[in-house]
Symmetry: C2
Subunit: 419 residues, 2 copies
């Protein structure tokens, strides 16, 4: 099978919004999970300091960089040696390599981030979506997971990899410890390898929220992926990492990922490894910056959540990151009058009639007949560096006029369609 | 099929040599295709200038970066629009995406660079090696190519992609125009898509050598890949690019590559795109630096070639880059007495008995029973920045004592084994 021609829908929509705006259209951009926040000076310095690394280095990353990532995990109740770590140009190539490294089919929450499924298909693997519980996303409902594993085996296939997202993209929610324990028990019983995508971990809205990593519950089989794109608003620098289990199983998995890495990307670029080292060492000036970002994300995500529920949607309250995932089933009749009868038409109607860009739930593997979409809230912080800096430093960012006006536009648009 | 656990053999050998040297062993390192030359200040400035690009941008690369790459190709008789170009973290991910983009089996010269074959296998594709002509490598012998295409079809399979390398790694030779025309004619008759890997193009030993790109002969079906790793001794920064055909076929191919790119690496990191822009615009201070590098590579590759033929090998004279690919068949009896009876044992004997690190021909898909290996000559320029800078500026670098002594060590080692 050869690759399709459609680029990842979030990146495609971001390019489309840029075109619409360049043509003079006003668009509320809820379609892309990126925060455009100021660059902390330490990250800039680290980039320059890393310029000397022009030579090919170890595929996994330089020893001091891997040690910094290990320290990051150790501060999160995951004791880690440097030889359990790999850094890469983003977490995407690591996630793809993990699919390649584990035999069998891939099990995903439904809905799940847009990229997991296409990566599996690129490698000729089959991906199965498993419905999420009512309370949160990012993990499958345990009963549904058991049922899907049974179905996979009944078809003579083998379930291999289970992907979890904590906190979740697209729902913005965090699976609670009890649910993580239940899912990890199933993973152990069924001998699944777990990928825990924790790229939003440092953007929890309540810093004291109970975060339990699957790597704490099933350490022998869980790979944790993360990166700097979300925490540090640094998507354009492409820096990701993976932490593998200690012991033989982890070493074998890591060796397989490094084999793929050596043929597909060689290593993370030298200067960006220096950035990774600095960021994962978590100097105080950087953690303070991250904390301010998390506070801003929390305030705006909560405001957008209220907008959605005020407009009649069912919507889980967000716990982390910058997403909400409303379900407009309660407004189905009103939306149908505007031509929005499923998630693809709802996405289109919102963009064309209301100037609101979102990604329909079908892009996340969700039931295409449902009236669900993901609203990314991180591009509402202002149009200029100065506005975004002000938002970052504000105690009440949703009262800033340029944020308030976007929220009001959104409310107006949704209310018009759902009334 | 899941990935193996062995990393790319050239990267693995480079790590092994580093370990041996750290343990106090003296090793002549001919195992890795990397030049460690000084970083031109313009490249360092461009990196810093690009730091502001922290946001996700277009998957293909920023418009001004693509325009710079287009200009680079236009100056080489390949008129190019920016929308025919993609930049990426190295050419490896582009090459992998091209395999994914084209249906059918992959045809490779035998021997060929170590990564093409494993990339095909990662994607579940079958790769076929086709013997090279006596005069040069990087392209298949035309008669052998016709024969292999017939065999592929007889098995009910479809040949899809033909990979050429100009100048070649591992043989260091450049296929002449007549041969390129013959191979392109077959590609057109059999409807193959051609990938022309031209990453060593700017390192021809004779700047006036007749270089004919397959993209000039079969423009409708040829994708050219290149990068900064070799020309600018910048492997650690991971910057590559691809130029697609104009027209519908090229647009479709590029769309497929961008689809894979969006799911696997998103884009080349923003600061490195600024480096790409600067380098592909080819300011005079940079082209002068590249010319000095090419002169150094030529002098040392020719000296190593003499060493090999003096020791009794058959060896094509190098035309570009920094490789020679000797065949020690004439010394089979003498080598057998030392336990070197095929390319794997020859590689081992050379490292363990003679302290010379090379990659056996089997890593390049060559007949494992042959006594061939690749000697990369680019790590002979000195152990320190100062030595390498002196070598770069020297009119007669092989007479520098630290280069001369490595060549003599090599001669001694080979003569001992082949006498």
């Amino acid at each position: 099978m050869s690759a399709g021609t459609a680029i990842s829908p979030n990146l495609a929509l971001d390019q489309e919004v840029a075109r619409l705006r360049a043509a003079g259209n006003r668009v509320v951009h809820l379609g892309f999970g990126e925060a455009r926040l100021p660059l902390p000076p330490g990250l800039l310095r680290a980039l320059g300091d890393g310029a000397e690394h022009t030579a090919y280095g170890p595929v996994a990353g330089r020893p001091e960089v891997l040690a910094a990532v290990a320290g990051y995990h150790a501060r999160r109740r995951l004791p880690t040696e440097a030889d359990q770590v790999v850094v890469a140009p983003g977490s995407k190539p690591l996630l793809m390599s993990l699919v390649a490294a584990v035999d069998g089919d891939v099990l995903l929450p439904r809905p799940a981030w847009v990229t997991y499924g296409p990566q599996a298909r690129l490698l000729g693997r089959r991906a199965w979506g498993v419905d999420i519980p009512r309370r949160c996303g990012g993990v499958p409902d345990p009963a549904a997971l058991v049922d899907t594993v049974r179905q996979v085996r009944e078809r003579g296939r083998r379930p291999g990899l289970l992907v979890l997202t904590l906190p979740d993209n697209p729902t913005g929610t965090l699976a609670p410890p009890g649910l993580i324990r239940a899912v990890c028990e199933i993973a152990r019983a069924e001998d699944l390898t777990v990928v825990s995508d924790e790229i939003y971990r440092d953007l929890l809205h309540e810093p004291t929220a109970a975060f339990l990593s699957p790597a704490e519950v099933a350490p022998e089989r869980t790979v944790v992926t993360t990166g700097l794109s979300k925490t540090h608003a640094l998507g354009g620098w492409r820096i990701g990492s993976a932490r593998f289990p200690a012991g033989d199983r982890g070493a074998e998995l890591r060796a397989r990922v490094l084999a793929t890495a050596s043929e597909v990307w060689s290593s993370l670029a030298g200067p960006l490894q220096s950035v990774a080292r600095y960021a994962y060492e978590e100097p105080p000036e950087l953690t303070a910056h991250v904390a301010r970002g998390a506070r801003l994300h929390a305030a705006v995500a909560r405001a957008v959540h209220r907008t959605m529920t005020d407009a009649g949607a069912d919507c889980r309250a967000p716990d982390g990151g910058f997403y909400v995932y409303p379900d407009f089933e309660p407004a189905r009749a009103a939306l149908a009058a505007h031509g929005a009868v499923d998630s693809a038409s709802l996405e289109r109607v919102l963009l064309e009639r209301a100037g609101v860009a979102v990604l329909g739930g079908h892009h996340f593997g969700d039931d295409p007949g449902a009236l669900r979409f993901r609203a990314a809230t991180s591009l509402l912080y202002g149009a200029t560096d100065r506005q975004r800096r002000t938002a970052l430093d504000s105690d009440d960012p949703v009262e800033l006029p340029y944020i308030r006006s976007e929220l009001e536009r959104m409310t107006l648009a949704l209310t018009k369609l759902t009334a």
